[in-house]
């Protein structure tokens, strides 16, 4: 038996595909930004004076890293409304993605923070900076730079993982592919094209992050 691949038929659904792609991009953008924020907060908590905060952060990281994203997603989307926390599918999707990314980034950024030379902290303390000022101005920027490539990789992993939010009917790229193949039965072609889009997205994301990183971490002389 031979099968003729038929990609041309997908053109009828290009709007659906592009809408899905756009939704994936939006989901990724917002969860990347919020996830990085959460990761920074998590890392700060992980190294906080307050022991309760430290334990909380550690428990959060372990809980998320040792359970599948899809279960986290279902828990947020199905479980939380059952205790009165209602939200739309998109909100649930974003929330789950942010929580997931935040946990990994907490661990990554913490590692960057731990590599801070002790002398840097002492110099800052001697200059009179408060703990918060030291964390934000002295510790965080170089720490983030140290682990930047790991942060980038994790953000890309979460972008790819966002395919799973199709399972709660968020109309993103995978959902679009599901929809198309349910109409024209060209499953293989639909998913192959969607996969290609993901591949391109991953590539572009790395490119964008590298450009941002090169700018943000440039050590070129500044003029007065």
């Amino acid at each position: 038996m031979s099968y003729q691949l038929n990609f041309g038929a997908l053109l009828d659904y290009q709007d659906v595909l592009l809408d899905g792609l756009w939704m994936t991009v939006k989901l990724t953008l917002i969860s990347t930004v919020l996830g990085i924020l959460l990761g920074v907060l998590g890392a700060a908590a992980r190294r906080h004076r307050n022991a309760a905060l430290r334990h909380l952060s550690k428990a959060y990281v372990e809980l998320i890293r040792n359970t599948p994203f899809i279960v986290q997603l279902f828990f947020v989307f199905f479980g939380l409304p059952a205790i009165g926390i209602k939200m739309t599918a998109i909100e649930a999707g974003v929330l789950a993605l942010v929580i997931n990314l935040g946990a990994y980034l907490t661990e990554i950024i913490r590692a960057g923070i731990d590599a801070t030379p002790k002398g840097q902290l002492e110099a800052a303390r001697t200059l009179g900076l408060s703990s918060r000022q030291i964390f934000i101005r002295i510790v965080l920027p170089p720490a983030f730079q140290r682990v930047y490539s790991a942060v980038v990789s994790q953000c890309i992993i979460v972008m790819l993982g966002s395919a799973v939010v199709s399972q709660i009917s968020v109309p993103e790229l995978t959902f679009a592919a599901n929809f198309i193949q349910s109409r024209n039965f060209l499953s293989f072609e639909s998913y192959l094209v969607a996969a290609l889009f993901y591949l391109i997205l991953a590539f572009l994301m790395r490119l964008a992050f590298n450009l941002i990183g090169a700018r943000a971490f440039s050590r070129k002389e500044k003029t007065l």
Partner: protein
Amino acid sequence: MSLVSVRDVHKYFGELHVLKGIDLTINAGEVVSIIGRSGSGKSTLLRCMNGLESYEQGAIILDGMEVSTDEFQVRKLSHSVGMVFQSFNLFPHLTVGENIMLAPKLIKRVGKEEAKKLAMEVLEKVGLADKFGQYPEKLSGGQQQRVAIARSLAMKPKVLLCDEITSALDPELVGDVLKVLEQLAAEGMTLILVTHEMNFARDVGDRVVFMHQGKVHETGDAKEVLANPQTPELQQFIGAVL
């Protein structure tokens, strides 16, 4: 009135008794060199003076303030005491200018233009006015250390603590840093330095404090003490380093 007064200070690292009752009074404008063998407690004493290290017994009064490791107290102290480290400790993600302006802006709420003026002023003092926009990694060790001094000076401290600030430098770069210190001394800055530069201690310093096993073992006028050490320990020490 004395600027720094250390009274019967004891310091322990766990079981280890590192400072065993230090008494020391330093007046404004004095240049005091702390010398002694490795492990005698020189760094620890210096670090106790600006709240980087706690002490268990005794008291340190600096510029009328009781020194402690309490964050609030350390912030207050930063107006009166600066510190320069062996390893420079410049912030790598900030330019030279940003390194210097950071504390005046954050702690003293100095305005942008004034901070810049201040930074240029202290940079000129250490001979590096042209490095304002440069990042530390582009500077030599000697230049980095001079920037670190400038950074401390920008807070206009009354006393500058220096812990072996030339020890990490290539020999040919040591001179530039010492020249800056000498100039500061001439301007009347109070300096407390842990150092192995005996010539500097003798020629520029007013007083030498020889530490031995956690105690001030011998102290006095720099030229006199170094020329005529009284205790066998100091004689041996001077013999070893010269």
